[in-house]
């Protein structure tokens, strides 16, 4: 009886909970402070977007799919555009591709800085939270200057991009990169040397490389466990072959490694953005797209800030797609929470959850 009672002491986190501003439900069975079991329930904000795409034409879908996620909106729009362009057999001008890559990397910076703040907040380190979000404003300002919007930048059109980067804008991006690089160096120092913070991250949520493979982790979470998995490197799309990035790996596989990998990826972003700005190919921004896309199906994969984003697009030859299937990186990574929770302290749970950078909005389309 006593045992059974203990067994049932469940701490629910979500769908309404201060630790999680997004709607997911986690149940942690605890014995004292130690977690003995974890379950996850998702799907609270299912919006039926995949089905809705079947009622809209190819162009309208671009704007609908961009709204799957507020953080990685460009990734969704780009993955969809790449798929549709492949189906239509259209070659996108190189300048448009390079601008897509710049936006994608700017978005990655924005996402990683946002994550850094959230994860620090989960550890009760609000000072880092406030500072990283203040610096994130730099990237938001750049995106606003570039596209007119802070989120849902709507950079893509089918067959190209809407915006151009002239020298003036390039200079303001460079200035922002310089400022952020200096700040990021400081953050890297903080997360690797702050004693109280290391006590919350070192050795917490540890996964071996084999475990990470078994759980099917993607993105920075997998790379922190030394799984060399990055679509930008494995299957370079747009201009990633011309402006390659170096994969960031860490062998430790714990929360600290996830912090380090994401922050080091930021440096990679700054480097690549500067490189592209220096060698931005000249030429057109868009190319003609047919109204109707010829029959066929395709898969397009890109590396979103959280990991591999997968689009399956099927066309029946009409003005509308027959099926659009999206698989977001978060669904893979949720296994990390349930897989590593047991044996940890309850206080580590929000950290482990935040450590994989979950995106519920992506997840429940």
């Amino acid at each position: 009886m006593e045992n059974e009672k203990r067994e049932k002491f469940i701490v629910p986190i979500g769908p309404q909970h201060p630790a999680l501003k997004e709607p997911g439900h986690f149940e942690f069975t605890v014995d004292g402070e130690t977690v003995t079991g974890a379950t996850v329930r998702l799907g609270y904000v299912h919006r039926g977007i995949e089905k809705a795409t079947e009622d809209r034409n190819w162009t309208q879908n671009l704007y609908l799919l961009e709204r799957i996620c507020g953080i990685c909106s460009h990734s969704h729009a780009m993955a969809y555009s790449l798929g549709v362009e492949k189906l239509a057999g259209v070659a996108v001008p190189p300048r448009a591709q390079a601008i897509r890559q710049v936006t994608a990397e700017l978005e990655r910076i924005h996402s990683h800085l946002l994550w850094l703040g959230v994860a620090a907040h989960e550890a009760g380190f609000d000072t880092l939270f406030m500072f990283s979000w203040r610096d994130r404003e730099t990237i938001m300002d750049i995106l606003e200057e570039l596209t007119g919007n802070r989120v849902n930048y709507s950079v893509n059109v089918l067959g190209g991009v809407k915006i151009d980067i002239d020298t003036e804008r390039a200079d303001s991006i460079r200035k922002g990169m310089d400022f952020l690089e200096e700040r990021t160096t400081h953050y890297l120092k903080v997360v690797t040397s702050d004693e109280t913070f290391l006590r919350r991250t070192r050795g917490v949520g540890f996964t071996t490389t084999e475990q990470a493979e078994t759980l099917g982790l993607v993105g920075p979470t997998a790379r922190a466990a030394n799984v060399a998995r990055d679509v930008r490197v494995d299957v370079p799309y747009i201009t990633y072959a011309d402006f390659p990035i170096t994969i960031t790996l860490d062998t430790r596989g714990d929360l600290e490694a996830r912090f380090v990998v994401r922050i080091k990826e930021l440096f990679e972003c700054y480097r690549v953005i500067r490189l592209i700005l220096d060698k931005l190919p000249a030429g057109e921004l868009t190319t003609r797209m047919p109204r109707k896309i010829k029959e066929g199906e395709t898969v397009s994969r890109i590396e979103a800030p959280r990991g591999e984003l997968f689009y399956f697009i099927k066309s029946g030859g009409g003005e509308k797609p027959e099926r659009v299937k999206v698989r977001t990186p978060s669904i893979n990574n949720f296994a990390l929470v349930t897989g590593t929770a047991v044996g940890h302290q309850l206080a580590d749970m929000p950290m482990i959850l935040a450590g994989m950078d979950p995106c519920f909005s992506c997840n429940d389309r």
Binding site: F9, V11, P18, A19, E122, F125, D126, R200, Q345
Partner: protein, 307 residues
């Protein structure tokens, strides 16, 4: 006449209303400082008072399955405890309203009432966040209480008295932060643990257990607990300033010394990530308690040798 004076001292000044408003002012300064350190703007000066007025006016929800009597009386007992403690400390640099031999011990226990009431309040409800919060609150109480007590005993032993006013007078000519630096540091950290300020806010870690033991409290009860915490902040700072920073003999030194301490507390709050409860306990017993014990022994031995 004396009775009237006593009642005035109890209800208005220096205990009672004056402490409450003082506590609210100090909460504001603390919040504002932390906000500035975190690159935020922070609340306006009347925000803590406005919060209390708003909470007092709001409905108090009585959760199912709680002991009603306990639920309503715990906040009152907690606030009464810290307000009573206000009678024995040199608030605003004035002589304590009341004083008797051994009032130091009484004050220390009155200050623990708040934490104890918080723990009981959490354990009183069926809410899982509250229960875990209550466990953590009480665990934390057991870890910092002994070292904190010892840090206040250090000055008492040197002064040769258990009466706060006498220790305060003795401290006027002896800055004990210089002779007992460990005691000073541990007492500051102990106060932060007592008030559950970051990085010792595991008992009310919002990202894990919402508001900890206080999760089910709303309206009046929550307001009283918050008031109690504010008053305790003021009284704790007064005690430490009186013992370690050369005593308090007029309002000006009081303001100066407690504000310096508050600045330190705010800086520490902004500087660290939250400690897990097991880390808090480990820190206190492995480091805090041991250091203070060593210092206490040295103090006693030296006092014996010198006199």
């Amino acid at each position: 006449m004396d009775t009237v004076k006593d009642i005035l001292a109890l209800l208005f000044f220096p205990a009672g209303l004056a402490v409450i408003f003082g506590g609210l002012a100090y909460e504001w300064i603390d919040r504002k400082l932390v906000a500035q350190l975190q690159n935020r703007i922070g609340p306006r000066w009347f925000q803590p008072a406005a919060d209390i007025v708003k909470l007092l006016a709001k409905e108090e929800v009585l959760p199912e399955g709680v002991d009603q009597w306990l639920f309503h009386s715990l906040p009152i007992i907690a606030l009464a405890g810290v307000l009573t403690a206000g009678l024995y400390v040199p608030l605003f640099g004035l002589a304590p309203a009341h004083s008797f031999a051994g009032d130091l011990i009484v004050t220390i226990y009155l200050l623990s009432m708040l934490t104890l009431c918080t723990g009981l309040a959490g354990a009183n409800t069926n809410d899982h966040f509250s229960l875990i919060g209550a466990t953590r609150t009480l665990t934390q109480l057991f870890s910092y209480e002994a070292p904190f007590l010892l840090t206040l005993l250090g000055p008492a032993i040197v002064a040769g008295s258990w009466q706060i006013s006498e220790i305060n007078a003795y401290a006027g000519s002896h800055w004990m932060i210089l002779t007992q630096p460990i005691g000073f540091i541990v007492s500051m950290i102990g106060l932060m643990g007592k008030l559950e300020l970051p990085p010792f806010d595991a008992p009310e870690a919002e990202t894990e257990i919402v508001a900890g033991a206080m999760t089910e409290y709303s309206g009046r009860g929550w307001a009283l607990f918050r008031l109690g915490k504010n008053v305790e902040l003021l009284i704790g700072l007064t005690l430490i300033a009186a013992f370690y920073l050369g005593g308090l003999d007029n309002p000006l030194t009081f303001l100066l010394k407690t504000l310096v301490l508050l600045l330190t507390v705010a800086g520490l709050q902004a500087l660290f990530a939250r400690l897990r409860i097991d880390q808090t306990v480990g820190l206190w017993w492995r480091v805090g308690a041991l250091l203070v014990l060593v210092q206490l022994l040295v103090t006693i031995v030296l006092k014996g040798v010198l006199t």
